[in-house]
């Protein structure tokens, strides 16, 4: 919000600068940016386009005509559907657990100075920065050594593990702009720690928690490398698709991929619109 204020204040000088810039290659940077966006969307276009491809063989690689038939039966392949279901369930569980655990860590970092703070902080950063092959193979050696059967459970264990740091970092960023005096005021007015958390802290950090949960869900749903190490015979959506590359990927994958893409777009656009609306609302209140 501070950034927004700065923007409105300096609106005037920027106009002066812009007038000067119109002369020299003003189109170059925006042109470049739009080319980058085109590059980013190219494989998405291909995915959506080939969901409408009237392919007859095993391979969906050459354009052979338009059809809607894949949209009539997107769940016609039972193993693909069950892989999608297990992806959605591991990701949901992974999201719920990691959001709670990560938020608790963020709260501890925000409110307390405690022993082991820097160690925990570097473990979080190490986890985000460590390569997936190493984490995946390390987890697999642990599970083998401990005779843990691979499957649904080990996938959830792994997904929670790599989501916690992302949640903690995201919620902590939200907490950074949070005035601790509000919590103290609630406590002075006789609220118990739990009441303070439920009535004051949580409502304020809620947008951050939701953003963190969405992020955790997205990375759990999409993870291939670590999940493939610990999945055993369980198939998730990315694992199924990857396995199908050798045999030919059916158009249903494109259909489901398109739906996931549209779902993601819908959620993020709604979220962004809500935030814009809330900010304008807050700005109006501040003016009044």
């Amino acid at each position: 919000m501070a950034g927004q204020a700065a923007l409105t204040i300096q609106a005037k000088p920027q106009a002066r600068v812009r007038a000067r810039r119109f002369r020299v290659g003003a189109w170059m940077l925006p042109g470049y940016t739009h080319l980058v966006i085109l590059w980013l969307f190219m494989p998405i276009f291909v995915m959506i386009l080939f969901a409408f491809n009237d392919t007859h063989g095993k391979y969906n690689l050459q354009w052979t005509g338009f059809t809607l038939k894949w949209f009539e039966h997107p769940f016609a392949i039972p193993t693909l559907t069950s892989a999608l279901v297990s992806s959605l369930s591991t990701a949901t569980l992974g999201m719920l657990i990691s959001t709670v655990l990560g938020t608790l860590i963020a709260l501890a970092f925000h409110r307390y100075a405690f022993r082991g703070r820097t160690i925990l902080d570097s473990i979080l950063i190490m986890n985000i920065a460590a390569s997936e092959v190493v984490i995946g193979s390390a987890l697999l050696t642990l599970f083998i050594a401990g005779n843990v059967p691979l499957g649904f459970l080990t996938i959830v264990l792994a997904q929670v593990m790599f989501s916690i740091p992302f949640v903690a970092v995201t919620v902590r960023a939200r907490l950074a702009g949070f005035d601790p005096a509000l919590e103290e005021a609630a406590e002075d007015l006789g609220a118990s720690p739990i009441e303070t958390f439920m009535l004051v802290t949580l409502p304020i950090i809620f947008p951050g928690v939701i953003a963190a949960a969405l992020l955790a869900f997205a990375i759990c749903l999409d993870d291939y490398v670590i999940t493939s190490f610990v999945a055993g015979n369980t198939q998730t959506f990315p694992l199924w698709v990857y396995g199908a590359t050798r045999l030919g990927v059916p158009p249903q994958v494109n259909v489901i991929g398109t739906f996931i893409f549209l779902g993601g777009c819908l959620i993020s656009v709604t979220f962004a619109a809500f935030r814009t609306w809330r900010n304008s609302q807050l700005a109006r209140e501040a003016q009044a």
């Binding site: 950034g3 700065a6 923007l7 920027q14 600068v17 940077l29 925006p30 940016t33 980058v36 966006i37 590059w39 980013l40 969307f41 190219m42 494989p43 998405i44 291909v46 995915m47 709670v100 990560g102 608790l104 860590i105 501890a108 409110r111 405690f114 925990l120 473990i123 979080l124 920065a129 390569s131 190493v134 193979s137 390390a138 987890l139 050696t141 642990l142 083998i144 050594a145 929670v160 593990m161 916690i164 903690a168 970092v169 902590r172 950074a176 999409d222 291939y224 490398v225 190490f229 990315p238 698709v241 990857y242 590359t245 991929g257 996931i260 893409f261 993601g264 777009c265 962004a272 814009t276």
Partner: protein, 300 residues
């Protein structure tokens, strides 16, 4: 003794139970998440280290005997795959930087009220599953795929021209896959720059290029630093792009580790390769931080 002190201090001092709860609170908060990370992140790395020093085979069983041979053997046998990883991952990081920086700069400084919308648009493609995106690139870059078939039919490209199954395809795929990890930190650090500094530079008659070189770019370095780390580390390790977009001679070390685990079931060799890889990356990371380091890596 504390109990006595608490009792003697009168009603203003909170009871021992409350004070104990306050002291314990941070540890109770971090216990579940920290414990989870200990069990499934730190402990596995220990298990990896132990496994990497074992010898034996899958049928006879593995036993721990300080078998350092795994390391020398692994390094010798797969040095070219280690090199491929560094080459393609490094090239992809540079490509991602060159693509992301100008776009992030334009969106942060010149997209005006549409800034948030542009940022959202840039990130939307990454809602599509990573494996599907890479598959789509395979389709796009195929020898007679939608990109090259028209050009070849028109005679603009020779018939044996190819991108798929070459290092170029692998590098491009890696740069694409990890693009958001480059874009977001750079954008965040550019957006944080105080616009008054830019104005001050302009008032002091710096031209546009000088403003960028002396003010904006240096101030965006923390973002560049984080972006290079967050892109480079996964890009070096990835094997999906190489598998789908690369050819026979482009194998990277991630693939070797995965195959040693899943196909050859040689856990000690696989573990030692993973360990070499991890330590090598860590060393590069520390060197990188020493040379270009800023204090904030991921801190908000």
């Amino acid at each position: 003794m504390q109990a006595v002190a608490a009792a003697g201090a009168g009603p203003r001092k909170p009871a021992l139970r409350v004070r104990f709860a306050r002291a314990a609170a941070p540890y109770l908060l971090i216990l579940p998440g920290g414990g989870w990370l200990f069990l499934f992140f730190l402990l596995p790395i220990l298990a990896l280290a132990v496994t990497s020093l074992e010898s034996g085979d899958f049928i006879a069983g593995f036993n721990f005997d300080w078998n350092v041979g795994n390391y020398t053997f692994g390094l010798q046998l797969y040095s070219s795959q280690f090199l491929h990883s560094i080459e393609y991952g490094g090239a992809a990081t540079i490509v991602a930087f060159l693509v992301a920086y100008p776009a992030a700069y334009w969106i942060a400084f010149h997209a005006g009220p549409r800034k948030a919308a542009y940022l959202l648009i840039v990130l939307l493609p990454f809602f599509v599953s990573f494996v599907i995106r890479t598959l789509s690139w395979e389709t796009l870059l195929a020898d007679y795929g939608p990109l090259f078939k028209p050009l070849k039919d028109a005679g603009l490209l020779p018939g044996d021209f190819r991108v798929l199954a070459t290092p170029v395809a692998v590098t491009g795929g890696l740069a694409y896959t990890f693009f958001p990890f480059m874009m977001l930190p750079i954008f965040a650090s550019l957006e944080k720059i105080d616009r008054r500094l830019v104005e001050a530079a302009e008032d002091l008659f710096a031209n546009r290029f000088e403003v960028f070189r002396r003010v904006i770019f240096p101030l965006s370095l923390p973002g560049v630093f984080a972006g290079v780390l967050l892109t480079g580390i996964p890009a070096v390790a990835d094997y999906v792009n190489q598998d789908l977009l690369g050819g026979v001679g482009t194998t990277m070390i991630g693939r070797v580790i995965e195959e040693q685990f899943e196909v050859d079931i040689n856990y000690p060799l696989a573990a030692s390769l993973a360990f070499i890889f991890m330590v090598g990356l860590l060393a590069m990371l520390l060197a990188y931080q020493r040379i270009f380091g800023t204090k904030e890596i991921l801190s908000d």
